[in-house]
Symmetry: C2
Subunit: 207 residues, 2 copies
């Protein structure tokens, strides 16, 4: 069962449903949600049926019910403790990011090689890199955000894997090689921008 683009869409539906709820709605129809999420109504229904999200014929979908089920799928019953490695610009921004809402994760520790950053006060405790392994193992951390400089990426990635991390959100532009049981999601800011520029440029060519 390959679920990939779906999973992103499910999170997108969640965002839309939260918005609907805030606006005071209780029910949503597949075409409402599709419209709001930017996909077809059929796509919504298909996605929902894949994840067992049920509506009522004629009555549409109950927003609260959907949110509960989606939160179940994403395990919002427990808080996933994650760590952040690298307190550069991006790392610090993530640590101070205020727009997370109704999340199922919590950044419980940050790591950096720079001793001055370790001393500084942040919202979460900052440790020296040497403490990484023991912290991860003691707290059974499975998820890490990697925001170190590119030159350090491979080495730190190996450290994370050998400490027992199973998922890495990789903000570096470096392709990481990991064992099969370690998931890497790449978020290359430069590539995101170049992709957007490409799309805009090629659209204008055809006009």
């Amino acid at each position: 069962m390959t679920v990939n683009r779906n999973i992103k869409r499910l999170l997108q539906y969640r965002t839309c449903l939260l918005r609907f709820k805030n606006l005071g709605f209780e029910k949503a129809f597949s075409y409402n949600l599709g419209e709001e999420a930017g996909v077809s109504a059929e796509q919504v229904r298909k996605d929902f049926s894949l994840y067992g999200l049920k509506g009522n014929k004629k009555g549409g979908y109950d927003i609260n019910e959907l949110l509960v089920t989606i939160n179940d799928i994403f395990k919002h019953d427990k808080t996933h403790e994650i760590i952040l490695v690298g307190l550069g610009n991006i790392g610090q921004a993530l640590l101070q990011y205020k727009n997370f809402t109704e999340i199922n994760f919590n950044i419980v520790g940050a790591f950096d090689i720079d001793p001055s950053k370790v001393k500084k006060k942040y919202a979460v405790p900052v440790y020296a890199m040497e403490k990484l392994k023991i912290f991860v193992q003691a707290n059974k951390i499975k998820i890490a955000i990697l925001a170190v400089p590119p030159v350090a990426a491979k080495e730190v990635c190996n450290d994370l894997v050998s400490a027992g991390i199973k998922g890495i959100l990789n903000f570096t532009p470096v392709v990481l090689k990991t064992p099969d049981d370690v998931v890497v999601n790449n978020l290359d800011l430069q590539n995101e921008l170049e992709e957007l520029i490409y799309k805009v440029d090629s659209k204008n060519e055809n006009d």
Copy 2:
């Protein structure tokens, strides 16, 4: 011609090729590149043929040649001037981000409603929101990074569109509605993390 996942991969190949070049290599084979980029050799060849990237039978691909052609595709002959709207944590991080290399874009102006941020010194000039339209039009800006708080997202998005922006990199968790000729690429940090957590959790269930 739908090119979508491809375009991301092409940028990924570029990253790998730059790495190979740095290591002193001059030639690459499809299986080298595939290995490094995490895709099959067939995928590499297929992608290349789609974009007219040529190799030599038996001889593989010339790294420099490939880089030149890929840079052509992404219009690295000109610098795309882009703006940043919202100087919160993420916005400031992007402004100070140092890991962009061989880019074809340049953040030439930033905008915020907070007057104290407008006064502060950054690497690029910071303007009040009221100056947005005139700046975009005077400088023919087509691309914007949107990093404002969620509540402001829709309004600022409309401002961007009416000023003439054609591509938005949307860091807010808000679904933006824009005319057909305006491309929006979403980068929702919360959803990226929740997706990763989901993948890790569901992988471990199956073991």
